[in-house]
């Protein structure tokens, strides 16, 4: 079958050295039960790609932290809630997002950082 429509793509690069993957997705979700519908987490889990999500995609843990390498403009802007939580992410960068909150609207390339335990920070 010849595809006429070009579907948005998520290219996933692993800091751990795992081989990279690319997934195409159709529609706006929800694809899974976790995270904002159409978020990076929702799309990845819905396409069988694992991403940590210790709080169940509720913006409470930072384990779904990703670094956006390309296509930042194709993500929903971050909210105050996401910024608050991101503050606690180990290895935070200017291009960091929470996978469970950032909704994908076009092609993006993301880097999944090596897992670092989400230690409590700034708790007082």
């Amino acid at each position: 079958m010849v595809r006429t429509e070009i579907l948005p793509k998520i290219r996933i690069i692993y800091e751990s050295g795992e081989p990279e993957r690319t997934i195409e997705f159709e529609g706006s979700g929800p694809f899974h039960h976790d995270g904002e519908p159409g978020s990076i987490l929702d799309i990845l889990l819905g396409h069988g790609v694992h991403l940590e999500h210790a709080c169940g995609g509720k913006c409470a843990c930072t384990t779904c932290h990703v670094i956006v390498r390309e296509g930042e403009e194709n993500l929903s802007p971050s909210t105050e809630k996401e910024e608050d939580e991101l503050d606690n992410a180990p290895g935070l960068t200017m291009h960091s997002r929470l996978g469970c909150q950032a909704i994908v609207k076009g092609d993006i390339t993301i880097v999944i950082p090596k897992y670092t335990i989400n230690q409590v920070s700034g708790s007082h």
């Binding site: 039960h33 940590e52 409470a60 809630k81 939580e85 897992y115 007082h124």
Partner: protein
């Protein structure tokens, strides 16, 4: 497939056994969990664990549950609400003593390690007081003279879980005030509710003191609304911490 296979290099998986169940009220119960001999979970009051629940097909469903116990306690306590048609909470409600619960953690920065020398305000609704309970206990045990307030929202009296603890602590520590805030009318549901109104009245309109520190936990939009209102009223960003379930 176990949770540890799921995410190589990921967080360490703990397996605890349910020792007993305490029914606070129909639809809200505490599961007491014991880790294998010699294993302890180091956590900060307020943090949660991430349960991997064997619901439906692989991989397991991931759901967060706050630790209602204190790090010093022998057992871990999770206080769980049964959510209508909720797969995760529904599964936890099928467990009996002897059952195993698999989890990773602790996680979360909604926590209190050392109480800051400022008035502390804890706002919780329903089971949302669960993570506040070990935080308040930590604050009391560390001493200090700052006032500590718990505003405890609920729909009705019976829903004031951990009331006995809070009352006993308040009787022993005059600087602790535990204040139940019940919804008075059905009409409040969906509009500004009693708890939200009280927080704004007392901590925004009543005075100009902006030194207080807040920890707010509830289901739904209330924590976010209070965070925005308190910050807009002049409280520092880091002074207002919220957890939304």
């Amino acid at each position: 497939m176990s949770a540890s296979d799921r995410s190589p290099g990921g967080p360490r998986v703990h397996r605890a056994t349910v020792t007993r169940i305490h029914e606070h009220l129909p639809g809200t119960r505490s599961l007491f969990l014991r880790l294998p001999a010699g294993e302890r979970l180091a956590f900060t009051p307020g943090q949660f664990v991430s349960c991997a629940l064997p619901v439906g097909d692989d991989p397991p469903l991931v759901r967060a549950y706050s630790l209602a116990s204190s790090p010093e306690d022998d057992e871990l306590e999770l206080c769980v609400d049964r959510v209508a048609a909720g797969p995760g909470s529904g599964h936890l409600f099928t467990l009996a003593p002897g059952a195993e619960v698999e989890f990773t953690g602790p996680f979360g920065s909604f926590a209190l390690a050392e109480p800051p020398p400022a008035p502390l305000v804890f706002v919780g609704e329903g089971a949302g007081v669960a993570p506040l309970r070990p935080m308040v206990r930590r604050a009391l045990e560390r001493g200090g003279s700052q006032p500590i307030t718990i505003l405890h929202g609920a729909r009705y009296e019976q829903e004031l879980i951990y009331r006995d603890d809070f009352e006993a602590w308040a009787a022993r520590h005059p600087r602790l005030t535990w204040e139940p805030v019940l919804r008075t009318t059905e009409a409040e549901v969906g509009s500004i509710d009693a708890l939200e109104g009280l927080v704004l009245e007392r901590f925004v309109r009543a005075d100009a003191d902006r030194s207080r520190r807040f920890w707010i936990c509830a289901v739904g939009a209330l924590p976010g609304r209070l965070r925005d209102a308190l910050r807009a009223a002049g409280y520092e960003r880091k002074a207002v911490r919220v957890e939304q379930w």
